[in-house]
């Protein structure tokens, strides 16, 4: 009896090692890619990286804690605008501004989270939607501080050591190093007791809030903490985005962005933080392919055919991959582990 359990534990441990190896391989691949491609693909990959960071937060929130947010563009925006404002108006160091952005995002998330998570499902989605709207309209209106609808321009690039990150090449490395660190953190969370507790609370995935509560789990506190973490992720990505794009304007931080990260999380797969990369890669990859390929086949109004194709592909992906791309990836990578 005991031997069997022991053998089981050993097989779990090897799948932990397997995941570690995958992370290492992934890091290697992502770090060497820029050497072989031109500036435009690199810039696309920067987008993928940034979206992935935000989406990982969404996966923790939706896939693990079982809550929904269709307003995360607000946190992305808080990071972006904090960085933009502090570095252009007040000459604050970009890294300090990034840090402050995360503090503000996390703080706001923690503050409103307690009240928010009294709601469930549809109503919760509604309140996150309202939150995004409030952010968007506030930012559009505070013209003196935020530049209003026109936004802020001439945001300085990030500097680290002697490196000036104005070139996409270097930004790529920074984004992806951060993305992989965030991935590591998220995977650790997912495979730990914390991840287990989150899954136990997730009524959409087979958990039970009542059962969790009588076992001593403060369900609300966990929801709020995950929400805050996802806000921090989005804020980090937002800050980097501000320095990368050099411009911020309100339209970027609106509902379409929020819905897009949810779609990415969903299509990538809610079961694992890896899903973020799959989802972001898919959506952005499709977008780029369409914009590249379509004009070759059909001439017409730019954007029209691409939009149509985008919609069709989205519908097809949702219909045929209800569990996300990650369900296609072998079980070895996503099997639940209980051992360190």
């Amino acid at each position: 009896m005991r031997m069997k359990a022991f053998r089981e534990i050993r097989s779990k441990m090897s799948s932990v090692k397997l995941q570690n190896r995958v992370v290492a391989l992934f890091t290697l691949v992502m770090m060497t890619i820029p050497l072989g491609i031109g500036p435009y693909p690199i810039s696309v990959m920067v987008d993928v990286g940034l979206y992935s960071i935000v989406t990982m937060g969404i996966i923790l929130l939706m896939g693990f804690a079982g809550q929904i947010s269709i307003g995360h563009a607000a946190f992305f925006g808080i990071g972006a605008y904090t960085s933009a404002i502090l570095t252009t108006h007040y000459q604050v160091s970009p890294w300090l501004a990034l840090f402050l952005g995360t503090v503000i995002s996390g703080g706001i998330a923690a503050a409103i989270g307690r009240a928010m998570f009294r709601l469930h499902g549809l109503m919760l989605a509604g309140i996150t939607l309202a939150m995004n709207l409030v952010f968007y309209h506030l930012v559009s209106s505070m013209v003196n501080i935020t530049g209003g609808a026109m936004g802020l321009m001439n945001i300085p690039p990030l500097m680290l050591g002697g490196f000036n990150f104005s070139r996409s090449f270097l930004t790529y490395y920074m984004v992806w190093i951060i993305a992989i660190v965030v991935l590591g953190f998220s995977l650790n969370l997912a495979d730990s007791q914390v991840g287990r507790v989150l899954r136990s609370m997730n009524i959409h995935a087979g958990g039970s809030e009542n059962a969790a509560q009588v076992l001593g789990i403060n369900v609300t506190r966990y929801k709020v903490q995950v929400f805050a973490i996802s806000a921090v992720y989005a804020s980090i990505a937002g800050s980097i985005y501000a320095h990368h794009a050099r411009v911020v304007e309100p339209g970027t931080f609106f509902i379409p962005f929020s819905v897009m990260v949810v779609i990415m999380a969903f299509l990538g797969g809610l079961r694992s933080p890896w899903g973020a990369f799959l989802g972001a890669g898919l959506m952005i990859g499709v977008r780029e392919l369409l914009w590249e390929i379509m004009p070759v086949f059909v001439t017409g109004i730019t954007g029209a055919y691409e939009l149509i194709a985008y919609g069709v592909i989205l519908v097809l992906a949702l219909l045929f991959l209800p569990r996300g791309l990650i369900s296609l990836v072998g079980k070895a990578f996503t099997k639940r582990r209980a051992v360190v």
Partner: protein, 272 residues
């Protein structure tokens, strides 16, 4: 309100009991769901180390009572005391931290994780797992995981299911699922277990197995409050029986006393 370490008369049974031996005290508890009165003025006390059973015909309010004790339902009227703590307006997770946990009638195992992980979730109260240390995979978090796994395994062994540790809960028989639920509840280390109809759906051999387990747990010092339908099984092991009918307590005493109580017999067989 209980006074310290004096000998008091238990207001309910009129027996002399050291007051600090009364673990759980339910005082004049009533509960309405709209117009429906589920419980009316129910009072009783459970001494430490007891196996106490609440029985009564269907709809008598038994499950409601358990949910009030574990905090899943808000207390409308009356008081519930656990040791020196008043349990009104205390959220369920805090009540669990104080030492009371519940096993539901439908168990509600987490179907998105293996059996052992279910029990590991139960170890939650015994860990200090923070987001930061877990995310950074700090040594203390890793040690934590090992400790939790060990503890969960031991609870699973206690109910005899360590072989099924890595299986999907859905692949277990109903009786086995109940045992996993029990192991999960035990992992919390609570001194009071509330069991809601634990015998429902069990086969004969599973029933006797559960009985033996409950007695074993009692010997380990755990106080058990059971709500049940199947009365014969429990008469053998219970120290205290409380009978509810239409939300009111109609009798209380030892199994022997209850079995000869006219009111109880009427309630089960008679007018209803």
């Amino acid at each position: 309100m209980q006074t310290d370490s004096a000998v008091v008369k238990d207001t309910v049974t009129s027996k002399k009991v050291a007051s600090d031996k009364l673990l759980l005290k339910v005082e004049d508890v009533s509960m309405h769901f709209g117009v429906l009165a589920a419980l009316k003025g129910v009072s009783f006390s459970v001494p430490k180390g007891n196996i106490s059973v609440i029985i009564g015909p269907n709809g008598a309010g038994k499950s409601t009572l358990l949910k009030l004790i574990s905090g899943l339902l808000p207390l409308q009227q009356g008081e519930i005391w656990f040791k020196r703590h008043r349990l009104s307006r205390v959220p369920p997770h805090r009540i669990s931290a104080l030492g009371i946990t519940q096993l539901f009638q439908d168990v509600q195992l987490f179907s998105n994780m293996s059996v052992i992980e279910n029990v590991m979730v139960g170890c939650h109260l015994r860990t200090r797992a923070g987001f930061l240390s877990a995310g950074l995979r700090l040594p203390q978090a890793q040690a934590n995981e090992r400790r939790i796994l060990k503890r969960a395994m031991s609870k699973l062994s206690l109910v005899g299911l360590e072989q099924k540790a890595w299986d999907n809960p859905a692949s277990l028989s109903w009786g086995q699922q109940k045992l996993v639920g029990l192991a999960r509840a035990l992992a919390t280390g609570s001194e009071v277990l509330l069991l809601d109809e634990p015998y429902s759906g069990l086969l004969a051999d599973e029933i006797s197995k559960l009985n033996r387990l409950i007695i074993k747990l009692q010997r380990q010092g755990i106080t058990i409050l059971i709500v049940e339908h199947l009365t014969d099984v429990l008469m053998g092991i219970a120290n205290q029986v409380i009978v509810l009918d239409y939300g009111e307590k109609i009798a209380e005493g030892t199994p022997d006393e209850i079995q000869h109580n006219k009111l109880v017999i009427d309630a089960y067989l008679g007018s209803g």
